[in-house]
């Protein structure tokens, strides 16, 4: 088996995976914050004097509740759409981390954790897809 070499190899790929995950998370948060700032400028420039009212819950318009709608709103350069796209990117960041870990564990031939990571990704996908059909 060459246990020593294998564990050495594993710790090396673990390090690489840690570095990549760190950069992925940082990049995702920064890109999302950037989009949110842009959206905020657009939104407040146009609607900054609108009254703020969050006292009663009215839910959001359909276009700000689905992935397709958010892209449409953002491409139309509406401030709220751009902010929402930034938030969507933020939500996708940890999901991307899980998806990447699958490859990381596969490279280490760690079958057990490939399955674990797939399971987590499946649950996350279930949440996002399941929510596409509002109950």
């Amino acid at each position: 088996m060459g246990g020593f070499d294998a564990s050495r190899d594993r710790s090396w790929t673990d390090k690489r995976m840690e570095r990549f995950i760190g950069n992925l998370l940082r990049g995702g948060v920064m890109a999302s914050a950037f989009l949110v700032v842009i959206g905020a400028v657009v939104y407040l420039a146009r609607h900054g004097d609108a009254p703020a009212d969050y006292r009663a819950f009215r839910s959001e318009p359909a276009d700000l509740r689905s992935v397709g709608g958010i892209f449409r709103e953002a491409l139309a350069l509406r401030g709220r759409g751009i902010i929402q796209l930034g938030l969507l990117l933020l939500i996708a960041t940890p999901v991307a981390r899980v998806a990447f870990s699958i490859f990381g564990f596969a490279e280490e031939h760690d079958r057990l954790y490939v399955i674990v990571a797939c399971l987590v990704l499946l649950i996350l996908a279930g949440s996002l897809i399941g929510s596409a059909w509002p109950m």
Binding site: G22, R26, R97
Partner: protein, 278 residues
């Protein structure tokens, strides 16, 4: 109040919430939701939606730094994320079915318990535990660099920890918080994982846990861009500031003062919830 003024006030409050959340390790959500609902009169559902978004931002930002230090145990995190994400789905689904008052009551109770827990921590018992067969099979045992040497540790009570993590996930999905205090409790106290590993791994898991309920929040219209924007940016800035200060000093007195504030907010949330004024 117009949107510009509202955004500035919310952003300022969020900076404070993120700052205190990072210093105490409780996270921004626990101050943020009471502040938005009690002070600014925001509906609880919008408040937990915005809070959940900020939780993903701060935990991912902090995890980026921690992961590179190599203290975070990615396997423990990944394995327990099965429990937290399932719990988060249950919690977020529950949140869409119960009233604002009920959410507020649970929130109040969780605040008081969290404050109590933050008084007690950290537990610094040196433990040399026997390897647990299940943990060994799952390859959860690990090691990290401490000072000049490498410190190895064994993980215990995997099923109990898993169950507690499901509970932490449920609270996260129900209340839009990271529920880091409960995650740390499960790892540090139940699974006997070293405190440093517990806190960084807990933080690592928070983003994924929150992402599981975020899909449901988004489709239910809990995530409002106008409110989430100042909250996310403010909490992120505040927590970065808090983490920077935390590296220099451990302000124990601030943690104590903050615990008292949390208890007061918890009582207020309980009262508002029970009297149906929320």
């Amino acid at each position: 109040m117009n949107m510009l003024e509202f955004s500035l006030i919310v952003a300022a409050g969020s900076v404070v919430a993120g700052f205190l959340g990072a210093l105490t390790g409780l996270g921004g959500g626990v101050v943020l939701v009471p502040m938005l609902t009690l002070v600014l009169g925001v509906d609880v559902r919008y408040a937990i939606g915005a809070s959940l978004v900020s939780v993903i931002a701060t935990s991912s930002g902090a995890a980026a730094a921690y992961v590179k230090e190599g203290i975070t145990n990615i396997r423990i995190g990944m394995f327990l994320e099965i429990a937290t994400t399932l719990g988060a789905l249950a919690g977020a689904t529950l949140a869409t079915h119960i009233s604002s008052s009920a959410i507020s009551i649970v929130f109040g109770a969780v605040l008081i318990v969290s404050a109590f827990l933050s008084w007690k921590r950290p537990s610094r018992n040196q433990r040399d535990t026997e390897p647990d067969p299940l943990a060994t099979k799952l390859r959860l045992n690990g090691s990290f660099r401490e000072g000049d040497g490498i410190r190895s540790y064994n993980v215990r009570h995997v099923p109990l920890g898993w169950g507690l993590m499901f509970g932490a996930g449920t609270l996260s999905g129900l209340l839009g918080i990271g529920s880091g205090a409960m995650k740390v409790l499960a790892m540090d106290q139940a699974m006997k994982i070293p405190f440093k590993v517990s806190t960084t791994t807990s933080n690592f898991m928070i983003g994924v846990t929150a992402a599981a309920s975020a899909g449901i929040y988004l489709s239910r219209g809990y995530i409002d861009p106008g409110l989430s924007m100042p909250v996310m940016l403010g909490v992120l800035a505040g927590s970065l500031l808090g983490t920077r200060i935390l590296v220099k000093a451990d302000p124990g007195w601030l943690r104590r003062v903050f615990s008292l504030v949390i208890v007061a907010l918890g009582i207020e949330m309980l009262y508002k919830g029970i009297s149906g004024r929320i």
